[in-house]
């Protein structure tokens, strides 16, 4: 495959969208896609990073932050999203918390060819079962979908997912 045609998603554009939408806290657990994004988030003074040791703890933390007037984002891997099911049901749906879920799509290949990793195979069925709308972002050209997700979450008072379909390759220098 020609490298020029390969999808490229820069971590800077994710940070830009977080700042644009007034995100104050990132409730997160690292995933295989996060790496470079972590370095930028750590350096960004407008963001407070709140690390949780298991992803199911992220929804109630985000709910508490939102109830208290802050703007949280949840940043986890698709495996952690699936682990969080009942927590999402109770703390996010139940309390009507508008939050964007940034979900690293471990196991995703752009051309839909399945890998031995079943994580991405079950991600969309999980989101559909929970009636969580989602937007796939695989390159900088897709990044405007992040704004769609923030606006939709705010309007519907429900979580909306952004599926991060590319691993960051470094900073976009």
């Amino acid at each position: 495959m020609n490298d020029m045609l390969r999808a490229h998603l820069s971590p800077e554009i994710i940070i830009d969208h977080m700042k644009k939408h007034g995100v104050t806290h990132v409730v997160w657990l690292p995933d295989s896609e996060t790496n470079w994004l972590y370095l930028l988030m750590q350096a960004e003074p407008s963001l407070t990073l709140v690390a949780v040791p298991r992803e199911g703890l992220a929804p109630p933390v985000a709910a508490g932050l939102a109830a208290g007037g802050r703007v949280p984002v949840i940043l986890v891997q698709n495996t952690g999203l699936m682990e969080s099911g009942d927590s999402i049901r109770g703390w996010l749906f139940g309390l009507e918390i508008p939050v964007v879920y940034m979900v690293g799509m471990r196991g995703w290949t752009r051309h839909g060819v399945p890998t031995a990793d079943t994580a991405s195979v079950y991600t969309e069925p999980f989101l559909n079962a929970f009636r969580i709308n989602y937007y796939l972002v695989e390159s900088d050209a897709d990044a405007d979908r992040i704004t769609l997700a923030f606006n939709e979450a705010k309007k519907t008072k429900r979580p909306v997912a952004v599926l991060i379909g590319d691993e960051y390759h470094g900073f976009n220098k």
């Binding site: 298991r54 929804p59 933390v61 709910a63 508490g64 932050l65 109830a67 007037g69």
Partner: protein, 195 residues
Amino acid sequence: MIDTAEMLKVFNAHRGDAIVVPGRGGRHWVGISGQPDLDLPMGDPAMGGHAAFAFGLAMAQPQRKVVLFDSEGDLQMGLGILLTIAEQKPANFYHFVLDNECYATTGGQPVPNAKNVDYVMLAKGAGYPRAFAFGELDALTAALPDILGKPGPVFVTMKVHADVENKPITQRTKWRTRSWTQVIGDLQRRLGIAA
């Protein structure tokens, strides 16, 4: 062993203008509190999340005390939150645990290792700077001004009587009079937070 309602009455005298998440003590707290718009009687949105929710509130409102009455069953389900809380060190967070050693709402079955868990050790091991355990109301009453008068995060576990419920859930007396969104809306209005 401590009576939860009596303990909450003692606490109420020291409450000030703290935000209170009453947890499993909610059924008693709603009749004791004189500031319902600073109370978040959540009931049970999803097990294992009360400490995380109250912690999130504390992070969002650092200028105001947030007092949580957690339960040991709920805490066991999300024990890792102790690490997050200890790392962030919210000075306004006061983490009380009502330890009745059982799941009272499902008929009183014991939680895992109910009589042998050292929650103070768990909290201190996670990094809480202060942690206490009480089995008698008199001792808690004497210590409360010091506990609440110094910065958090602080962890206080209390052995309490079990209010076991054996009636089917649909036949139980409903003590919550506000929905979750009403509770949050009332708090946000009191704190001047735009919806």
